[in-house]
């Protein structure tokens, strides 16, 4: 199981690098799809079917839109040179974050260990033990996102609402009225 996990991780990383580096837009989009499906399998391994379902349906929908968008475009090849200075700076920054990351990963609990074990008064244990009694929902995820932390879900729904209104506003046909229309 652990080996599978690392294989998946490697697969996702390779797909991500190809998605950034390839010059063909269509193969880049397909690589993004591969990342998404890899992530959803990863969620299944981590025993999070709720997130896996959401991830997979969003991925399918997103992939359909992106492929539709790239196929009907003539221009599927990206051109342009990279700046040498920019590349050097980003490599240096990534290397520094990598060095810091190694130190940071030493401090977080080992993979598979519950991270909340060290907390003083962990909320997560109450969710698991008393979730059904307190909320009546058999699915603990539902009891967390729609009861214990429902306010967050209202926020998330609003994030979606905001982005949809934003998209309709940005993509509207006529944005300014002619000068004469103002009284």
């Amino acid at each position: 199981m652990n080996i599978m996990f690392y294989v998946l991780l490697l697969f996702i990383l390779i797909a991500a690098v190809i998605a950034v580096e390839t010059k063909n837009l269509l193969s880049s989009v397909i690589c993004i799809g591969a990342i998404g499906f890899g992530v959803s399998i990863m969620f299944l391994f981590l025993r999070a079917p709720d997130i896996a379902i959401t991830q997979i349906v969003v991925e399918v929908l997103g992939l359909i839109i992106l492929i539709r968008a790239t196929i009907s475009r003539d221009l599927t090849f990206i051109s342009g040179d990279k700046e040498f200075f920019g590349t050097v700076v980003s490599v240096v920054i990534i290397f520094m974050i990598f060095l810091v990351g190694i130190r940071v990963f030493d401090t977080i609990p080992e993979f598979g260990q519950p991270t909340f074990a060290q907390a003083h008064n962990p909320a997560s244990e109450t969710y698991i033990e008393d979730g059904l009694e307190k909320t009546g929902a058999a699915n603990i995820i539902a009891s967390i996102i729609l009861d214990f932390r429902a306010y967050d879900t209202l926020g998330e729904a609003t994030v979606l609402f905001t982005s949809i209104i934003g998209a309709t506003v940005i993509l509207r046909r006529k944005s300014r009225k002619a000068l004469g229309e103002l009284e």
């Binding site: 709720d50 379902i53 349906v57 909320t135 699915n139 995820i141 729904a157």
Partner: protein, 149 residues
């Protein structure tokens, strides 16, 4: 966009029903099994996206006009916020699950406001995702028209 071949049209008109049913199932049983409003809403939206790809935009427009779609979007959001306010009115505080002891555990009718919230979110997510895909596809046509002029 006039849609695809007869084979695709026939099959998608059959599959459409199954996808919509599956979406409704995922939404309604969100408090018992994995899934919920968000996942189910995306599935509902994807059934209409499939229809749009198979039959063309005009066909879907007749079935689910854009104005109705954006109204459903707002309605779902308002419904979810209203569930929160109802908790304030009938229960102890905002977002209080004032119905939580209603019904029996592990049955469809249980856990109070959670299934209601799932339905509201499902409506909202389904309508809004379809809306944004529809707008993105119509926008592309307009911009290509501009180029030809």
């Amino acid at each position: 966009m006039k849609g695809m071949t007869v084979i695709v049209k026939t099959i998608s008109s059959w599959v459409k029903v199954l996808i919509i049913l599956f979406g409704i199932y995922i939404i309604l049983f969100g408090h018992l099994t994995p899934g919920g409003g968000f996942a189910g809403g995306v599935i509902l939206a994807s059934s209409y996206v499939m229809l749009m790809l198979a039959f063309g935009r005009e066909f879907v427009q007749k079935d689910l006009p854009l104005s109705l779609d954006s109204k459903l979007d707002c309605l779902g959001a308002v419904a979810f916020a209203m569930i929160a306010v109802l908790g304030y009115v009938f229960g102890k505080s905002f977002f209080d699950n004032f119905l939580s002891q209603f019904g029996r555990h592990l049955r469809l009718i249980s856990s109070g406001t959670i299934p209601l919230s799932n339905i509201a979110i499902g409506l909202k997510v389904g309508a809004s995702l379809f809306l944004v895909i529809f707008i993105l596809s119509t926008f592309r046509r307009d911009s290509s028209d501009d180029k030809q002029e």
